[in-house]
């Protein structure tokens, strides 16, 4: 098999390795012999552990990607940034107000944004990062929550920001503020919790717990299924 593969040179932290061109950066590092400890998590684009910065030989342009979601390219120089020392404020969510002033209290640096858009350009999730910071500045918490929703908190935005904003921590504060203080609580959920706490289902549940396998099979096979 391996002899059929098209191979390319990559440079992991400057050191050259020959790897198959079909691999992701993560697979290529493992192929090259790295036992990853940092810089590898879910291996599926959800956890943000494998933020990677790279440049192609001869080109000045720095590019980024999640190592598990980006294919290697010929003459790729790469390094991972698996950790970024970001500041996070501590707060009691229930006592907060969903306002711009509240966000500014915890993250005043958002007003230092110079509009360079480096955060948006670097985001491996293609989020409009600068835009959601602008929403936060203006107190449009709902829009900030929506726009930042697909964030995997990899930290690349913060690594590039000349104003030293930690965008992803602003995003999660906005989403939690929005969900707790702006979206109405689910009425049906509240009623069901009250019913359970009042013991409404206790008898029915005890019967099921004590039912024989045969009874359960019958009940299961004949249960009505919602369209």
């Amino acid at each position: 098999m391996e002899s059929d593969l098209k191979m390319v040179n990559i440079y992991v932290m400057g050191k050259k390795y020959l790897v198959p061109d079909s691999l992701t950066i993560m697979h290529a590092m493992e192929y090259a012999g790295y036992q990853l400890v940092r810089g590898c998590g879910c291996r599926a684009g959800f956890c943000g552990a494998c933020a990677t910065v790279f440049r192609i030989h001869g080109d000045y342009d720095l590019k980024v990607g999640l190592a598990c979601q980006t294919k290697v390219e010929p003459e790729m120089y790469l390094t991972q940034i698996p950790f970024f020392p970001a500041q996070k404020s501590e707060y009691k969510l229930g006592e907060l107000k969903p306002t711009a002033a509240q966000i500014a209290q915890f993250y005043p640096e958002i007003y230092r944004c110079i509009g360079c858009n480096a955060c948006t350009k670097i985001c491996p999730q293609d989020l409009k990062v600068m835009q959601y910071i602008a929403y936060a500045q203006r107190g449009q918490i709902d829009r900030c929550a929506d726009e930042s929703f697909d964030c995997v908190m990899c930290g690349l935005c913060a690594s590039r920001c000349p104003a030293q904003i930690v965008h992803f921590n602003v995003g999660i504060l906005a989403r939690r503020l929005y969900s707790r203080h702006l979206l109405p609580p689910a009425g049906h959920l509240q009623s069901r919790v009250a019913e359970i706490e009042s013991g409404k289902f206790a008898v029915e549940m005890t019967e099921l717990v004590n039912a024989s396998k045969e009874t359960l099979r019958k009940l299961y096979a004949s249960r009505e299924i919602e369209d």
Binding site: G41, K71, P184, H188, E204, L208, L216
Partner: protein, 538 residues
């Protein structure tokens, strides 16, 4: 890479039958007998040669997969190392091992009880299967639904083998868990009046799958993690537990920690230990590609079993019917069941549907394997895999243009990165190893049979019987994480840890020698899979 010209030709068959399939309505569901038959003949759990009986320990004689038995029949990582067990680096009330959703839930609630809590996790805090759970979380919270209906669905899905008391706890606590998450500010999909959006999952009788787009687990995890940080609970990352410590009365009393970066060992004394370390998908049972997180290497099962905790249902694994079979870069990637929940049908090479789109996972996976192996109606994919189609474009026809983009942004993005447009092109799927249905047997408080040792999340067994339903894993990590946290937190005041010892470990190793088990130079827990110089699944 985009579909090849040959695959594009085959896509036309799927397109040709699409309108007719939609018009006809849903495919017929299997009868109970048909379900039993397809499982027996095609589900990987039923392949006898894939397992062997455990040679030692509490479950001696029970059949488990070879890959797992290999880790039990292995030497300890700390054999021959001398430790001063009285020289603790940490002395806490509750030690939580694992930084996923179960561990975070347990830690938050234990701390509320006044306990001093320490979380250790071998990767980053939040690196866990929790973040990868896309589809949703079940809870019977709507009119027309009830915990009893949820209970019946769980038992039927689990082949009626589940521990009834655990299912009762799971389904009665479900709305409470969901409410807790809502109060913590997790951003669930809602209508403007606050009503939760909910859909079906495989094997549900009511639409009780709640989601946060297709980042449901990620949203729950980042919310819990943010809250743990708000409450300044101590978390040590890149720090694994490698063995438990028992005191002279046989109660758990701490653990041996291993710094993943420096290689140093440290001792932690704790009044109780909550194992929340996840499952074992990275053992890649029977060679299946896995949807699992990098760290899913059975560490908790190994540590717990050596310390005397009983296992349950370790002969059953969940193969998710829809792992990616193409593009090659993402083989084994989880394709959320929400895709089927929204109506996408499994279709063979001739464009024919062959199974109801919302069968339970075990049945759907077995039906896909049958379609390929017996009926030879699979689609051969460059790279050697054979898959079937999952007709994602029909979702927009059913619910209106834009639905796929809105409801499945992660899926759209992950396929687009490698040249496949799931809004307009069907996906190629094959079952992937997804979940360990069993684990360390627990009671309603998450306690194992070893005193003061808890197991929550995927490492625990009994809740899901022989097969877990979609949306009940995100649920069980929160329900049993909270229960264990409450119980351990409250119990801490009463517990006095006696002199710590590793005698149990020596006894276990002697038992291995006595039965002549071949440990083959293996050392466990393995902590990380070894993928160096090997082509791997995602």
């Amino acid at each position: 890479m985009p579909y090849t010209p040959q695959l594009r030709e085959l896509v036309k068959q799927v397109e040709a039958s699409r309108a007719e399939r939609i018009k006809k309505g849903p495919f017929r569901r299997m009868t109970m007998d048909e379900r039993d038959e397809v499982l027996k003949n095609f589900h990987p759990d039923f392949i006898e040669a894939s397992m062997r009986p455990l040679s030692v320990g509490v479950n001696k004689g029970d059949r488990v997969p070879h890959e797992f038995a290999d880790l039990i029949e292995a030497r300890s990582r700390i054999e021959g190392l001398g430790f001063d067990l009285e020289n603790f680096a940490y002395d806490v009330d509750v030690l939580v091992v694992g930084g996923g959703g179960a561990g975070a839930s347990a830690a938050l609630i234990a701390q509320e009880q006044g306990a001093d809590v320490l979380i250790v996790t071998k990767l980053r805090f939040g690196d866990a299967n929790t973040v990868m759970a896309q589809g949703g979380i079940q809870a019977a919270d709507k009119e027309g639904d009830s915990p009893a209906k949820h209970y019946l669905d769980v038992m039927g899905g689990g082949r009626f083998e589940n521990v009834p008391e655990l299912v009762s706890a799971l389904t009665l606590d479900a709305p409470l868990a969901l409410k807790w998450l809502e109060d913590l500010g997790a951003m669930f999909d809602k209508f403007p009046d606050g009503t939760m959006k909910s859909i079906h999952g495989g094997g549900t009788s009511r639409k009780r799958m709640h989601s946060a787009r297709d980042y449901s687990g990620a949203e729950i995890m980042r919310t819990l993690r943010d809250e743990v940080r708000n409450r300044a609970i101590r978390v040590i990352e890149f720090c694994a537990a490698v063995e438990l410590l028992l005191d002279e009365e046989g109660k758990v009393g701490g653990a041996v920690l291993y710094n993943m970066e420096t290689g140093e060992y440290e001792i932690v004394r704790a009044k109780s230990v909550i194992l929340a370390v996840g499952g074992s998908g990275r053992l890649e049972y029977q060679g299946f590609p896995t949807t699992n997180h990098y760290g899913a290497t059975a560490d908790g099962l190994v540590m717990g079993y050596r310390a005397g905790a009983e296992l349950a249902f370790m002969h059953t694994m969940q193969y998710h019917p829809t792992g990616a079979a193409y593009p090659p870069q993402i083989i084994g990637l989880l394709i959320t069941e929400k895709v089927r929940g929204l109506g996408a049908e499994p279709v063979n090479i001739d464009g024919e549907q062959f199974v109801y789109h919302l069968e339970t996972r075990d049945v759907a996976a077995a039906a896909i394997i049958r379609e390929i192996k017996e009926r030879r109606k699979g689609i051969a994919v460059p790279g050697g895999m054979i898959g079937v189609w999952l007709d994602s474009p029909m979702i927009d026809l059913l619910y209106g243009a834009g639905t796929v983009a809105r409801e499945l942004p992660a899926m759209v993005r992950q396929f687009a990165r490698f040249g496949v447009d799931i809004i307009n092109e069907p996906m190629l799927v094959y079952p992937a190893l997804h979940y360990q249905n069993g684990g360390l047997l627990i009671d309603e408080n998450g306690l194992t049979n070893v005193q003061n040792l808890y197991a929550v999340g995927e490492v625990a067994g009994g809740i899901h019987g022989g097969n877990r339903l979609m949306g009940n894993s995100l649920l069980d990590i929160v329900v049993f994480g909270r229960r264990a946290g409450a119980h351990a937190g409250a119990a801490a005041k009463e517990i006095k840890v006696k002199k710590l010892s590793l005698n149990y470990l020596q006894a276990f190793q002697r038992e291995l020698e006595a039965v002549g088990a071949d440990t083959g130079g293996r050392v466990s827990p393995i902590l990380l899979p070894r993928y160096t110089h090997r082509m791997t699944s995602a």
